[in-house]
Symmetry: D2
Subunit: 164 residues, 4 copies
Amino acid sequence: MSRRFVVGVMGQGEGASEAAIADAHELGRLIAAEGWVVLSGGRDAGVMQAVNQGAKEIAGSLTVGILPGASLESSAELDIAIVTDMGSARNNLNVLSSDVVVACGPGSSGTVSEIALALKAGKTVILLNPDPETDALFEKLGRERTVLVNSAAEAIVAIKRARQ
Amino acid sequence: MSRRFVVGVMGQGEGASEAAIADAHELGRLIAAEGWVVLSGGRDAGVMQAVNQGAKEIAGSLTVGILPGASLESSAELDIAIVTDMGSARNNLNVLSSDVVVACGPGSSGTVSEIALALKAGKTVILLNPDPETDALFEKLGRERTVLVNSAAEAIVAIKRARQ
Amino acid sequence: MSRRFVVGVMGQGEGASEAAIADAHELGRLIAAEGWVVLSGGRDAGVMQAVNQGAKEIAGSLTVGILPGASLESSAELDIAIVTDMGSARNNLNVLSSDVVVACGPGSSGTVSEIALALKAGKTVILLNPDPETDALFEKLGRERTVLVNSAAEAIVAIKRARQ
Amino acid sequence: MSRRFVVGVMGQGEGASEAAIADAHELGRLIAAEGWVVLSGGRDAGVMQAVNQGAKEIAGSLTVGILPGASLESSAELDIAIVTDMGSARNNLNVLSSDVVVACGPGSSGTVSEIALALKAGKTVILLNPDPETDALFEKLGRERTVLVNSAAEAIVAIKRARQ
């Protein structure tokens, strides 16, 4: 089997907080340093952009973006662009294509839909510094499959545990 | 223009509470009595089944279901089955195809994804007897476009207001 | 079971020939007169528009369009608009949601993809006045499930036979 | 820009001819030797499997598969599996995500739908040893954007020309 281990990183695009962007950048570096693939929604904004920028600081990293639009034109940090032309319906593909999902920062509506779809699909979801309302709802909906962490380094530990 | 006004009703399938099912049944009757189309996820379970059963008690009602599977075999109460064969990615079609969305009862992961996708798409979402965690998150994410109601009759009033 | 029988009518949008448009208009009338639902790609152009216009000449007709775009704004002749925001990937939903598919006139690339997807999904496809190249390819690919006809009236006969 | 150049290879799964499988295997080797990414429908059958097996004979090759099903379990030769759970609707993603599309061997319905969707999306489609009916239809539909070739080596030349 040559399939590589894929970590999906979800989070707000435009309007993401500085803290979420910093977490995403560090997370991208650490995921890539483990030799895992970074998968995201692929747009050039917020958490998606930051996680890919972090990953591309590591030689040999591989970044895959699943784009909502119709064009192969994509983020400067994407190695592989999957072009769906299916808007937010592509959110389900983001989570199905990930071995583990990390939601980075407080949830926008798009991110919340991805956490919900990931739980529906039976994935482990790691919540990295979420807002309390997102944490409260998903702790309730997916108790055994959500993990709350406070740093990118803790997220890596949680991913390794989920992988076993 | 002959396009009919469509109310999307989202809610838990298997495991829906008796209260949510009773609300959905009454909501289906009242939507149909207004001459509006009932749109749902189309499966023969929980809120989806109840809203269609309620609607079919009204002569001339029209029920549309957007199915996750690949088969035209569908609920006994569906007039029109849209067959997507795209699993939970069809949740985005449910909300895009609705003029207004009602989330009926506490949210399962599927329903939560639909509320989030509806807000992302700029739709008004009426929360009918949600659990407090779902209410808290979506009041925060979509303050002006979420409406909290306690009965099917109140939902109809809120739909009429949203329609104006 | 209340599900209504659905005939999917596929064909060229912009650039459709006058003959194809005339066939589509007549086909829409005849399908609606049988009490069947007309399903199409829903856009306000060519065969899609003509089949819906034909159907709306019959009292009590029901027209469903599965739209590629993100907006509920749709053809003046659609009763129900299914909004997919998934571009040409929605072609597969068009055929899966139809009991029988009629391809009206020479095939554009979109129509050819729908004929192919319909055969893949095990549907009967009626080719109404196709160009010889489309006929030759699909006679070969789906011999038992393609039917060649020369008029809208013959298409209705073929639909009835396929329905049995 | 780090995005890698992607060649989509489409063709029959089960039932592919020995000649098509041999062409696909050689094509996979040659694409990978150029440093390009091989993208396919990802299933473990026919042309899809052969092109990935060919590519994996080259060190450093990268194979991406866009799967119709819901599971990350995939072909032994895939580096990256994109899981869509959307059946044949994923065919549109295959072509949108490719810089150039090669259809390898005679077309099954699935392959024919992909050629049609690729032309609709404005892609160049290289037909490698097609059957005469497929060639005739698509020469007509997409004259300037279809290229007929007789060997994997010729396909590489045509890809290079399309890329300029």
